[in-house]
Symmetry: C2
Subunit: 235 residues, 2 copies
């Protein structure tokens, strides 16, 4: 039996064991949903970049997607909404990508044995990747600037529940148990459940209202973006 661990925020990353696990970076609104969308539309590679300085070094060579606090950075080609990652713009391209919480989360997950980007868009494929990976699963939520957030936790709960139901995984992790409980409350009306979080300042700030329903659509793709040599690629 493999174990499932859920970590609700990157600041808690050092408090959990994860080195030998297969990790999933989760930033439902919007980094990992946007990354899945980029690959659905034919992107070649997504390089997660933590700092603005490093990002500038990619300008001219790669497509730049970047935001801070939900606002596109002025030198970036596009911001951080899945709607920008169109086939016309991203097919065949390498994207240098930086967001408030998401890219840091991906770079932490990359310290584990293997790492992937997870979102509702690739939920089932992601769970198959974890099952075939045959290791413990470490689900790392981006949260928001060190704070817990509901949509990432609910998604972690969906993954934990699916893995548990599959029979190869179990958990003794309190955050995984809590996440599964939140998923049990959310699953029959996911848009309605997320709407209560959607009232909050954080979501107004990232101006995500138009992409919330899309980012909570389950299984639009079988692609699992996985981390290899500094970038996410198609599995």
């Amino acid at each position: 039996m493999h174990r499932i661990t859920v970590c609700f925020t990157p600041v808690q990353f050092p408090s959990y064991s994860h080195d030998d696990a297969n990790a999933v970076a989760i930033d439902i609104l919007r980094a990992t949903s946007s990354i899945c969308t980029a690959f659905m539309n034919g992107a070649e590679r997504v390089i997660p970049v933590s700092t603005v300085e490093e990002l500038k070094s990619h300008a001219g060579r790669h497509l730049i997607a970047a935001e801070r606090d939900g606002i596109k950075l002025d030198f970036a080609d596009i911001g951080n909404s899945p709607k920008y990652f169109t086939r016309a713009l991203v097919a065949g391209k390498t994207i240098a990508y930086s967001t408030t919480n998401g890219t840091h989360t991906i770079n932490l997950a990359a310290q584990c044995r293997n790492a992937a980007a997870g979102s509702f868009l690739n939920l089932s494929a992601l769970c198959r990747w974890l099952e075939e990976g045959n290791r413990d699963a470490f689900l790392l939520c981006a949260g928001w600037k060190g704070r817990f957030n509901l949509e990432d936790a609910v998604f972690a709960g969906a993954v934990a529940q699916k893995l548990t139901d599959g029979g190869q995984f179990t958990t003794e992790c309190d955050s995984a148990l809590a996440a599964m409980d939140l998923w049990s409350l959310a699953k029959n009306d996911l848009p309605g459940y997320i709407r209560k979080a959607a009232q909050n300042e954080r979501l107004r700030k990232i101006n995500a209202a138009d992409t919330i329903p899309y980012c909570h659509t389950i299984d639009l793709t079988d692609i699992v973006p996985v981390y290899r040599d500094g970038a996410l690629i198609r599995n």
Copy 2:
């Protein structure tokens, strides 16, 4: 309307706004339950002490209650279970108190405008203290070494729900919303709900099985231990 914020672990404390709030330190298993019990049994003051060195300076002058990873420290008079805080031992005494997660949490909460120790044992009195305090409420869970834990989150949810029902408080905080949802699942069978967490390594380590039912008993006391000048005293 005042706001409720829930912080699931001390490592996330810097990520939240709390300076002007009335804070509640929450460590259900077992620090804040033991502290409430100490005052129920007549203790005069409880000094939260973070380091073992500082704790040793209290030896001979005060009763020493201390554990690390659930085990009583050898030079301490008693460990960290409510059952040790008997009237015979604690009445009229000042207790120097140090635990793995709880005392650090209390010392962080003490940085807010006012701070109290909360547990199921004083749930209703604690909510009245927050309502009469007439400020935002900041509910700080001890967790376990930087990790989320279920019993602290469920208790934070009970407080948040009671305050919201009272009509003077509202919340836009995702962790408060999640905590209230966990409480809604737990409240009709609290011992049964907590039992699922009780299977885990953490609880085996603190050997808390015998005190879990006691620590989840609601409203045994009207005492609210509040922080003044370096120690908790009766409100």
